[in-house]
Symmetry: C2
Subunit: 259 residues, 2 copies
């Protein structure tokens, strides 16, 4: 648990008071802004946004803290306002599989919460973070008045489906190094040329997210040197984005067979 908890204290108060509307807190305002920009809230009909935000719970989590566990019943939708949250699943064998990692502006748990179903995954803060929880009943009651809301929730859910499908494709059709390359590409927004990026979280988690062991990630990084990638600490330099994309999209067989 985090020890320097001045901030945590403030927010804990806020948590207990469930109508935080006029707390004159700059960080809270900043978080509200992030919330408004999140995919989920952004796609809600404008007239309901204020209502939803004012009925939400705002909480801080320390690194390593659990938001919820697999099999627990869902009663809220979660929107990350700051920091990183991982969704993972523990297989019967005890191995942990990271399903996704969310950050500022991203939401999860939409489909489960509206049905009071058990979560299929567990959620844990991997850095100190701020999370907004929207109680499911708030959304459900709104939804009965305005069906449009159902559509926006479906939009968010679809983007998760899409993300999972991409991940499946990558796992089934790409090597580890290629997945790492794609991961790096998602971090740099430029289209071409060189680029420097900061790795958003530690390498153990990156490895998990990409479906490999930390040792394999290290090796994948060194393999990417030939593609113009240099990594030190949590900092990566990409010499040529196009070249890296080329690497990621080259069929494994081609590389030595036709090369």
């Amino acid at each position: 648990m985090r020890l320097t908890n001045q901030a945590t204290g403030v927010i804990a108060q806020r948590l207990s008071a469930s109508a935080p509307a006029k707390v004159p807190d700059v960080t809270h305002d900043a978080h509200k802004l992030v919330a408004r920009k999140s995919l989920l809230v952004r796609s809600l009909p404008e007239q309901h946004v204020e209502h939803v935000l004012s009925h939400a719970l705002w909480r801080s989590y320390d690194r390593g803290e659990t938001l919820f566990l697999q099999e627990e019943n869902a009663h809220a939708i979660h929107v990350v306002l700051d920091g990183w949250v991982k969704l993972y699943r523990v297989s019967p064998t005890g191995a942990e599989a990271v399903v996704s990692v969310f950050t500022k502006g991203e939401s999860f748990g939409e489909a489960v919460a509206l049905h009071n179903l058990p979560y299929p995954v567990s959620a844990e803060a991997v850095s100190p973070c701020e999370v907004m929880h929207i109680p499911a009943n708030v959304l459900i009651s709104l939804m009965r008045k305005d069906p449009e809301i159902g559509i926006s929730i479906l939009a968010a859910t679809f983007s998760h489906l899409h993300g999972l499908v991409s991940q499946l494709e990558q796992l089934k059709a790409q090597t580890g190094a290629q997945r790492v390359a794609e991961f790096l590409l998602t971090l740099c927004q430029g289209e071409a040329g060189g680029c420097e990026v900061t790795l958003p979280y530690d390498k153990m988690l990156i490895a998990g997210r990409l479906g490999m062991k930390p040792e394999s990630l290290s090796r994948a990084f060194s393999r990417l040197k030939t593609a113009g990638v240099r990594v030190s600490r949590n900092h990566a330099e990409i010499a040529d984005i196009e070249a890296l994309r080329e690497y990621a999209e080259t069929d494994r067989a081609d590389s030595w067979h036709k090369g």
Copy 2:
């Protein structure tokens, strides 16, 4: 394409007539029954079911026929009434990754259709099959009257999310043979003891579905002999379901490390 297309002809007629309500066709009635029992339709409010079914399109597909392609815009939700349909994705490298395989009573495309978004995957019939298409606008207009419908669509979408999450977990945390073991377990409904199952589709597709090459599937099967599995043609005998589950859930490291 299928050459014996008497049946296909009949259904093609039905397809062109968009109000097939009183066609006295036994197979059509049988399909309607399947449709009613599908997860999607089953969770719709009773009073809308008839309306939805009567506005649906009913079509036959031959083995190998394409229902839709990745990137196409979605305008309908699909419910499989008979046969098998695979959803797959072609990666930039050209490799095909099977995302899921659906059969009788299962639906897909819910979230995409309601937004007119492009499909993230392609769909192909892997056996002759019957599919019901529910035009998205039918559901959308109903949804505006009764928000309950949004919830039931979310239910179907959630079960897909859940399926993808399980698949991810399996790919990240299990060996090929273990995935095959789990696959076999899903085919037998018994809890314990022995069991015989028929493989639902050809081994190439099973291999794809489980994220491996046909050769690896063969080897996985022979590896499972030690766990009491015997396979010949499309028929598999499982000596002891419990033992097989045990095999599937044993950590890879354990097997030789502590064994």
